[in-house]
Symmetry: C2
């Protein structure tokens, strides 16, 4: 049995006519000889509407109640898509996350998949059914409904692809692949026919919304051939692969994340263990810290700055104040919201002096000040002022000749 796992996002099933279109596409894939497992997100705006309804009733609902509520979104879309496929005369079965055997840990709103029991899905495929699975959700071993957090449906799809040993996992979305930059910001952005897991991972981490980080990690771990493609066209697509054969291209993409806050803890004593204590405190609050800079300002007094996702900033500030209190009440916490992170991604770029000098040179010539820098094996990120983000994106995209990329 050649199993194909597809995932359709919220815009792909946003209304009746799109659902019908997706249904026809799924049926076509089945007729081409694939056993079909299809993961579906909530219809566009459903999740937002549910969150808004919840907040009107309680500004701070429990994660458990929130998961019970949000899980209905995917259950609705999977039910309606099943009806559309029934209407085409094909056998189909819709399953919730729990029914399809997706078991998670207990962390409501950001659960991790612990185990996939593929028995039910395999039995349904064996009966010739198209199997639709509600994305973004699972159950704990005790049967409590959990959700996987942002991008959870991608993760569902890749985890199922691994569990059923699928030939391929296709993420069908509203863009036709992974681009050298966000096409909404850069008109000349080019689609990449191929990208490595590691590069994709960096792009996802850096806020390229096309794939969730966790799904790319899983795909890499299990060696799942992953494809990002349009939900509505058979053209295009980007293959996510282990090793790319397009060797001559060094920089694959430029990303901009404008939802960054920079937080500074100023005037803390220069003692061993201070930074460790601060970042342990932040980690224990579930706040993920990105870049860190430490400056020794005056004798025995330090400034520590770091960046977090803007949505985590209020909690981070609170945690920092609590930390300062715990070490005797010295220091100050400052928050700057108008930060942006501009990054370039590509295998081997940190080994190339030319890439670094083009990056810094371009920003310098544009009069854009770099506040922080961080590098990894395959990316270089700079924190700049948010007001200069799009300008930086455009200039770097041109400087690395990404708009002239030769594509297959």
């Amino acid at each position: 049995m050649k199993i194909l796992v597809q995932k359709y996002g919220g815009t792909s099933v946003a209304n009746q006519s799109r659902m019908q279109e997706v249904a026809r596409r799924i049926v076509r894939c089945q007729e081409q000889g694939h056993a079909m497992v299809v993961v579906v997100s909530a219809m566009n705006h459903t999740t937002e509407d549910l969150i808004a309804a919840a907040r009107r009733i309680n500004p701070n609902p429990s994660p458990r109640a929130m998961d019970m509520l949000l899980a209905t979104g995917e259950q609705m879309s999977v039910s309606l898509l099943a009806m559309a496929i029934e209407g085409l005369g094909h056998n189909v079965v819709s399953l919730t996350g729990g029914m399809s055997g997706i078991y998670t840990d207990q962390r409501h709103k950001k659960a991790r998949i612990a185990r996939v029991d593929s028995q039910r899905i395999m039995a349904e495929l064996g009966k010739g059914n198209i199997v639709l699975v509600a994305g973004f959700q699972g159950v704990t071993p005790e049967g409590e409904i959990t959700t996987l957090g942002r991008g959870g449906s991608d993760t569902t799809a890749v985890a199922l692809a691994a569990a059923v040993v699928a030939e391929r996992c296709e993420i069908c979305t509203d863009v036709d692949g992974v681009y050298t930059a966000d096409p909404n910001l850069i008109a000349t952005a080019r689609r990449l026919p191929e990208i490595t897991y590691d590069e994709m991972l960096e792009l996802s981490r850096l806020g390229a919304g096309v794939l969730s980080t966790r799904s790319v990690e899983l795909a890499k771990e299990y060696g799942i051939p992953l494809v990002v493609r349009s939900a509505f066209s058979d053209d295009g697509g980007t293959q996510v692969v282990e090793v790319s054969v397009v060797e001559q291209v060094l920089v694959r993409g430029v990303t901009l994340d404008s939802d960054i806050s920079r937080i500074s803890v100023a005037g803390v004593p220069d003692r061993p263990g201070i930074a460790f204590g601060l970042f342990s405190k932040l980690a224990s609050e579930g706040i993920s810290v990105d870049m860190i800079i430490q400056n020794l300002n005056r004798a025995q007094v330090n400034d520590i700055s770091f960046t977090v996702a803007k949505e985590d900033a209020p909690a981070a500030v609170q945690a920092c104040w609590a930390f300062l209190e715990s070490i005797g009440g010295h220091g100050l916490v400052l928050q700057k919201d108008n930060a942006a992170k501009i990054s370039i991604v590509g295998t081997g770029i940190t080994g190339s002096t030319e890439v670094a000098s083009t990056l810094f040179g371009t920003l310098f010539e544009s009069g854009i000040n770099i506040e922080m820098i961080s590098t990894s094996e395959i990316k270089i990120s700079c924190i700049i002022d948010a007001s200069e983000g799009e300008e930086a994106l455009r200039r770097l995209h041109r400087a690395f000749s990404l708009d002239e990329l030769e594509l297959r």
Copy 2:
């Protein structure tokens, strides 16, 4: 532990402010010393909206897919109500039908509760939680989601009351009790402080929407003290009891059901087994037949007429044609939709000649033609033309002095 089971219908949780109000009421009941188990329907219009969305995609979706879809309605309302109670600082847990241990048979869209495993609910009550249960739904032993059909949330409430050995089951709704007639049609209708299970059962069967038939059957079977009361006021209410002490009142209520179709199968051979065959066929299609009349018209040729709920009429007509075909193609099927059933209900009324003569006399004096009559121990029903239904209701309500009923 004194357990109180309450059920709130769709209008009681229709919007944010009503949910808050219901939340405060539930908390008040808990503070009065009750362990609270609360069954919640989908918010008003949710179910209708989901059905409409389904029909736009597929006019004839599978019952299984429909159940997956509809079950989200109650899951949403139970989640939101939990958030409202959390906002009041009380411990609460929301459960789907399946999570709360409601196991049903496999009949999607009209499943019957087969078993209630109250373990989870009792454990949650033991922890001091208010337990909210999504009404109208359950799971099969295989974990498939089912719905209980019309009035299913009442049934959920009574079944849970039996399973947890509740002190009382309160059906909290948008009216403050059971009335002598529909107050929307008869301004002088009076609330009954008390009614017997059997009388209530007849009223429910006859279309008094206040309680589902199945829930009354269950309450009678398990001897559950049942109360119908307003969701928003502590006043009023109707107790449903085994034996009523209000003995002097003979006729308790008058009901009108305008959603009746009369179907005639004309010109069938007058052979033994014909009627049996016809009604077996209808039963096997799941069509519930109410009144039946058989006329011998000419030699060896029969007319059989019967009434069904209007929504079942198309399926019934189809089944009748199929039956005629199976016996050789004789005969004709006719459908009349503008029929109504007017009924009077009260323990012992069929034993009273005075009641029968008042009924038939009043209709005769009003020039209303009776097409069919059926009686049971505690009710007399007449099929009349739908255009005369409300007139008949008003006249009978007055004729039996129901607007002058002495009430406590």
